[in-house]
């Protein structure tokens, strides 16, 4: 057995947890034969037990380095010789005493650590040679071998090592050299046992701290061997329990396997996070602020998946599977007049025709109380899913905000910011060139961000001038917003007037006035706000927030016009309903024209559903508007990216050679990623979804598709066509600002939906609530039919204002109380932080 391989194995087993997974099979693989490599202690033990004679001689030959040993041996020299000659049962006992003596000597020996390294090296080499002989001797297949081999499979950790070592020693004692086996059964007195234990503890401590010392490996190993030998000797004397050994081995193996499984599972969980590598790449090159947009996008994708699951699984699928099929009812059929164009692509793209008369929209659903053999309550499900999507969204937004607030409150220790960036940012685990590239980029970006922060904090401010400028800027922004608000209001008024007078009288501009004005405002006002914000001289992160806030206010105007337009159309349709109802009675009468008198019941005449005159369906119309808006929004975004970013980058790159000025540095140059525009686009889009998903169950599905493609397209576009900003700044750790805007939009979107549910009567000819006076009546209907009668009574009592008002009062009081406690906690937190800070300062000064 080569010395090199053996030492290698021993060294790595000792000091590397992972490598200790080397077991018999590994050794078989590497060395082509089974090796009985036990722990240091084991081989040392065997050494001691079986080859002591050899040891002694060699050690005596080197009295300088093994002073302790030599002394010890000299002391008990006479005894030992006697023992060897004896070879009787009492040899074991005497051996114990010897060992104890040597142990004491060993203690002195351990003090002599100042010995020259060379001597230790020799010693180590010697030991390994002895061990070699040892191994070969033992290959004779002693009885205890089986148990030994089993133990070799275990992980060599500190605790385990000691315990195992103990047990092994005891085991070896039992199974070891024949001469020793009998004598070890002799009982040892309590004091001796206690003393032994003490010394063992000392040895353990020494071995435990050995790792921490910054010595060379050789030194450590020789010391370890030395200590280990003595340690083993110590333990040879004590009797131990052999029971529980197998179970212990099994337990250790299971622990090892469990830890490996846990690590693999963590890796798997991290690998499951979608788009993680893409976002990390973007973060490395563009900074955390741009990456925060993509993280926000991913989070939205998750929410939309859940919403999609709800609407698809609980509304669309039951209707598709169990509801009456297409063509069986008038509301489920394309009217005769539209049949010709129903399948055209243009019609489908506009979401009319077949798309309109399908599960995608509100109008398709029948108002039967239960459908199918499962007695699925379709109207109830529709209503509850609508309310549930809003409720779920509220819950998750607030939960995320709360969680982010927690993280922020935790606070980070910024006292060593730059030092940590410099010394702990490089990850030594990286072995892949692309990852390394990303890491370099990310380190650079992180340094730049920190430098920006530092520069900002060092900026000297002329307070008065800055304040004046900021007030001026805010005033200008307010003017712009007020102006655009009035403009929108005016334009909407005009368009309503036009609509009343009939749109045919006016040209293209008048017809599309509202849209055009909105688009123009959306194009120019953000740039104007950008210019204004340069007056303010804020930290880039704060400037971004102001920008976002102002554009948000601007887009609210957009929302306002949209809602107004919708309300107008709804009112129109409601008017139409009355007319249509009247017409339908006439038409029915004409069917029975002259055949049967009015009052008698008659078999209903079979009329093809396509021919029945249809009542107007304002809900489907609303749903269609939202879907059209979402689709056109998506198209606009994609085309803007392709033209505005991609074509521009291509132009700049390839025409730069034949252009008068430097395109890359002057105008137009490569575009930067517009964080505020994109974030707001995402938030408003989600607002549309929330508003419209009650009337068009297909909307979450469309949005999921849109977000999915948007993620890939934008990731590609950012990496390919954009350049990082001049001043890369660190995004705030939480996304709470985005969340706050999202919450606001969510609240705003619930208002129209709730209003329509509560105050507008549903259409009489379409949807799951047709025939009722109000949509929420479905709840009372369910309570009547499906719940036991006492439930209805209880509900009746519960909805009594006398109960509701105190409940509301209670909630208000608890909100106030919780707010007060949270404020006091925050203050306490701040105080503690300050204290920590001042203590650290004091420490610094003391050291100085």
């Amino acid at each position: 057995m080569a010395v090199l391989e053996l030492s290698l194995l021993r060294y790595v087993k000792l000091f590397s947890k992972d490598l200790a997974l080397i077991n018999d099979d590994t050794m078989l693989h590497f060395f082509g034969k089974r090796i009985e490599v036990n722990n240091e202690e084991d081989s040392a033990a065997e050494n001691q037990e079986n080859d002591r004679g050899v040891d002694k001689e060699r050690k005596r030959a080197k009295p300088r380095t093994r002073r302790g040993h030599g002394r010890g041996r000299a002391r008990h020299g006479g005894e030992e010789d006697g023992d060897d000659e004896d070879g009787t049962r009492r040899a074991g006992q005497r051996r114990q005493r010897n060992r104890r003596g040597r142990g004491r000597a060993g203690n002195e020996g351990s003090d002599s650590e100042g010995d020259p390294t060379k001597a230790r090296k020799n010693q180590a080499n010697q030991k390994s040679k002895e061990d070699d002989e040892q191994e070969e001797d033992e290959k004779g297949g002693k009885s205890g071998k089986g148990k030994n081999e089993k133990k070799q499979d275990k992980k060599v950790d500190k605790k385990g090592k000691k315990e195992k070592a103990n047990k092994k020693k005891k085991d070896k004692k039992k199974s070891g050299s024949g001469s020793g086996s009998d004598s070890e059964e002799e009982p040892i007195t309590e004091e001796e046992l206690a003393k032994l234990k003490e010394e063992v503890e000392e040895k353990k401590k020494l071995i435990a701290t050995l790792r921490n010392k910054p010595w060379k490996m050789k030194k450590k190993l020789s010391v370890l061997k030395y200590e280990a030998q003595l340690f083993v000797e110590k333990f040879e004397g004590a009797l131990g329990k052999g029971k529980g050994k197998k179970f212990y081995a099994y337990k250790v193996m299971m622990t090892k396997k469990w830890m490996k499984f846990q690590r693999d599972f963590e890796n798997f969980k991290t690998a499951c996070i979608p788009w993680e590598m893409k976002i990390k790449e973007i973060e490395s090159h563009f900074g955390s602020s741009v990456a925060s947009y993509f993280i926000f996008l991913r989070w939205m994708y998750g929410i939309n998946m859940i919403l999609f699951g709800l609407t698809f699984g609980l509304v669309m699928i039951p209707e598709a599977l169990m509801g009456k099929p297409y063509g069986s009812l008038p509301r489920k059929t394309v009217p005769r007049a539209e049949e010709a164009t129903a399948m055209n692509f243009a019609t489908l793209w506009d979401f009319s025709g077949f798309a309109q008369y399908s599960v995608l929209f509100y109008g398709y659903y029948n108002n039967q109380r239960t459908i199918g053999w499962l007695k699925f309550r379709m109207p109830l499900s529709y209503f509850l899913v609508g309310v549930g999507t809003i409720g779920y969204s509220f819950m998750i937004v607030i939960r995320t905000m709360a969680r982010n607030a927690n993280e922020e409150g935790g606070g980070d220790d910024t006292s060593f910011n730059f030092s940590w960036k410099m010394f702990t940012s490089w990850d030594y685990l990286i072995g892949n060139p692309e990852t390394a590239d990303n890491k370099f980029a990310s380190i650079t970006t992180s340094f730049k961000e920190a430098i920006v922060e530092e520069q900002e904090s060092r900026k000297e401010e002329n307070i008065h001038l800055t304040r004046f400028l900021r007030v001026l800027a805010n005033f200008l922004a307010l003017c712009t917003l007020a102006g655009s608000g009035y403009l929108i209001f005016f334009v909407v008024r005009r368009s309503q007037k036009f609509a009343l007078e009939g749109l045919e009288n006016y040209g293209w501009w008048e017809r599309n006035e509202v849209n055009m004005v909105m688009s123009l405002l959306g194009m120019f006002c953000p740039t104007l706000f950008d210019v204004i914000s340069s007056l303010e001289n804020y930290h880039p992160r704060i400037a971004l927030r102001w920008q976002l806030g102002r554009i948000f206010a601007l887009f609210l105007g957009n929302l306002y016009t949209f809602i107004i337009a919708l309300m107008d159309e709804i009112n129109l349709k409601l008017e139409e309903e009355k007319i249509v109802k009247y017409n339908m009675t006439i038409w029915e009468a004409s069917l029975y024209n002259g055949t049967i008198p009015e009052n008698s019941t008659a078999p209903p005449i079979q009329v093809d559903p396509a021919d029945v005159p249809r009542g107007p369906c304002w809900e489907t119309m609303v749903g269609q508007e939202f879907v059209r808006l979402t689709v056109s929004d998506t198209m606009t975004t994609y085309i803007t990216i392709l033209i505005g970013d991609f074509l521009r980058a291509v132009f700049v790159r390839f025409f730069n050679y034949c252009w008068c000025w430097d395109l890359e540095y002057g105008f137009p140059s490569y575009s930067e990623f517009d964080i505020s525009g994109n974030v707001l686009g995402l938030i408003f889009n989600q607002g549309m979804i929330w508003m419209g998903s009650f009337y068009a169950p297909c909307l979450p599905a469309i949005n999921v598709f849109r977000l999915h493609t948007s993620m890939y397209l934008q990731c590609w576009a950012v990496m390919c066509c954009n350049v990082p900003q001049e001043r890369v700044f660190k995004a705030s750790r939480s996304n709470n600002f985005y969340m706050a805007m999202l919450l606001f939009i969510l609240f705003l979107s619930t208002l129209p939906a709730v209003y329509t549910i509560v105050s507008i009567p549903p259409s009489f000819d379409c949807g799951p609530f047709s025939g009722k006076t109000r949509m929420f009546e479905v709840i009372s209907e369910t309570l009547e039919h499906d719940f036991p009668s006492w439930f209805g009574k209880v509900f009746g009592y519960a909805s009594n204002p006398g109960l509701i008002l105190p409940f509301i009062l209670l909630m208000v009081l608890s909100i106030y109380y919780l707010n007060a406690t949270s404020k006091s906690y925050k203050e306490a937190n701040l105080e503690l932080k300050k204290k920590l800070q001042s203590m650290r300062q004091k420490k610094k000064e003391i050291v100085k």
Binding site: K213, S419, M422, F423, T424, S425, P433, K439, T444, F447
Partner: protein
């Protein structure tokens, strides 16, 4: 055997060597100080960089790695070299010197303008990701 390439050109080898401190690591752990390691040195290196090595031990060796001129102090020039290696020379000289000044301001406790082992250890012990980044998994 098979299609696996076993002889690498220097350019290809370069692609595998991403660690900016690879030269320093070799120098620190080699007994002769020139970058050549014996088996013991090699094992020493893996032992220090493994998961199980205690924080103090890692801090000691990290200090040696970042001390480019081996004078037992991390002075400003050492810091500048470190930053440049970390960012592949992408920062402007002003930014580099600002970063180095900040580091010395933050970590230097005895006010001598450079970091001694105690300063370094005091600072690195508190770092949350030191153990996880200064680590090689075999």
């Amino acid at each position: 055997m098979g299609n696996k390439q076993t002889i690498f050109t220097p350019e290809q080898l370069d692609a595998y060597q991403d660690n900016p401190f690879r030269q320093r690591i070799a120098e620190v752990f080699s007994e002769s100080g020139d970058g050549n390691m014996t088996l013991d040195d090699f094992l020493d290196m893996f032992s220090v960089l493994s998961e199980m090595a205690p924080r103090d031990l890692k801090a000691y060796y990290a200090f040696k790695i970042y001390d480019f001129n081996n004078d037992d102090y991390i002075c400003k020039s050492d810091l500048e070299k470190t930053v440049n290696k970390l960012t592949r020379n992408e920062l402007t000289p002003e930014e580099v010197s600002l970063a180095c000044e900040k580091v010395i301001y933050e970590a230097d406790l005895d006010n001598d303008g450079k970091l001694s082992l105690e300063d370094f250890q005091h600072m690195i012990i508190r770092a949350p990701d030191f153990l996880s980044t200064f680590h090689i998994r075999i």
